[in-house]
Every structure is written in C-alpha cells, then in structure tokens.
Amino acid sequence: MPEQNKPVADVDPVIEEYKKHVDVTLIRENLRLTVDQRFQQLMKMQQFAEELQGARRKAQERE
C-alpha cells in the first residue's frame, strides 16, 4: 500500500518510540488555546529565540 494511503492509526514502532518523548502537558496546554492564541504564542517564541541568538552573537564578539 502506498505510504500516503496508509491510515494514520497504523502502528509504526519508530514513531511509537518517539512518542514516549513528547511532552503531552505542553500539548494539553495548547489545546486549551484558540488557533489565534497558538499563533500569538508561536510569534512570541520566535521573538525569544531571536533574542537568544542575538545575545549569543554578542557574547561571542566579546570573547
């Protein structure tokens, strides 16, 4: 059966192993938000990541 036609419920042992490491608490928090709120949160995370990258660059320049 072509991969794209497999039902998603198929058990894939590799995926099952990866699932053990997913933080379900974060998913539950996100599912309480609206889609709009999830995107606002994503953009805040992006901004924070960029600030961290900027801080790292400055620290490297000082070294």
Partner: protein, 161 residues
C-alpha cells in the same frame, strides 16, 4: 521574525487561494514546536497566480539564502515556470508550494482541510490526519519527532471529544 498574522492577512485580503501546511499547520493543531516560516500550498490557476504576484509584490519576495543580486524576477512567468519557492520577504520567511510530497496540489488537499481563524481572517489549514500522512510520506528523518507529536495531538483530541 515571521509575521504570520500579516502574511495571512495579506494573502486573504488579496483573495489568494491557499492552504496552510507544514509547521504552521502543526501550530494551528496545537503543536508546541517552534517554526520560523509559513508554508502554504497555493492554487496553480492563472487567476490565483496573478493574485499571488500582486499580493506579495509589496513585501519584496526574494529567494531565501540566495546571494544578493541574483536575477530573480517576481512575476507570473517565474511562478509558472517553477513550482515550489523558498522565499524571504519583508514580513519574514514564506514557502510557496505548488505541490507537496504525498499530498499533491491545492485541489487534492482541499477536501482534507479545516477552516481556521487567525488574526481575524479565515484560512484553510490542512487537517491533522492528512498532515500526518503527508509528513510520513515525505519520509524525512527530521520529521519523526513532529509526526510523533502530531499523533499525540490526535490522541488528545479524540480523548477530549
């Protein structure tokens, strides 16, 4: 930073037909993973391509990661000659996809979309189950963690119903 709200508003206000896919679609479904670009599948009809060109021209699309000064012309002809474009714009990173592996184009994906509201605009977003099958079909090792998370979201969603 990619301004998802502004990009989606720009596309919608210009009546571009598109579907949110990739990491942004995962975010819409509840993923906690960070993504830096907006991936969309656009409809490859002459009318829609013309709308796309007109909508994005003000935000100066250019090939992401390409050296400055390459002769890249943002035009209907360029889009018609190509299929998938990885762009940087003044509003951030935007991937325009004519087709995706395991999913096909706009027409093939539309039956498996949901309508979502983001920043006051209604957009089509690839449904969770189809997003999983598309990610699996892509077969990229980097997607394994994403697929696992999407499966957990599916389980949580079913549990909440």
């Amino acid at each position: 930073m990619t301004d998802f709200n502004a990009l989606l508003r720009l596309l919608t206000e210009n009546e571009v037909e598109f579907i949110i896919v990739g990491g942004a679609a995962a975010t819409a479904h509840g993923s906690a993973r960070l993504t830096f670009d907006l991936d969309i599948v656009y409809r490859r009809t002459p009318t829609n391509i013309a709308r796309l060109i007109s909508a994005l021209a003000p935000i100066q699309p250019y090939l992401r990661g390409a050296p400055a000064g390459l002769p890249f012309e943002w035009s209907v002809e360029t889009i018609k000659k190509g299929l998938n474009f990885t762009l940087i714009t003044t509003l951030g990173a935007l991937d325009l996809l004519g087709e995706i592996a395991g999913g096909g184009g706009y027409e093939q994906l539309t039956p498996d979309t949901i309508e979502v509201e983001i920043s006051g605009v209604q957009c089509l977003c690839l449904g969770l189950e189809r997003l999983i099958t598309v990610k699996r079909a892509a077969g990229r090792p980097k997607d394994l963690e994403v697929i696992a998370e999407l499966h957990q979201i599916l389980s949580e969603t079913h549990r909440n119903q």
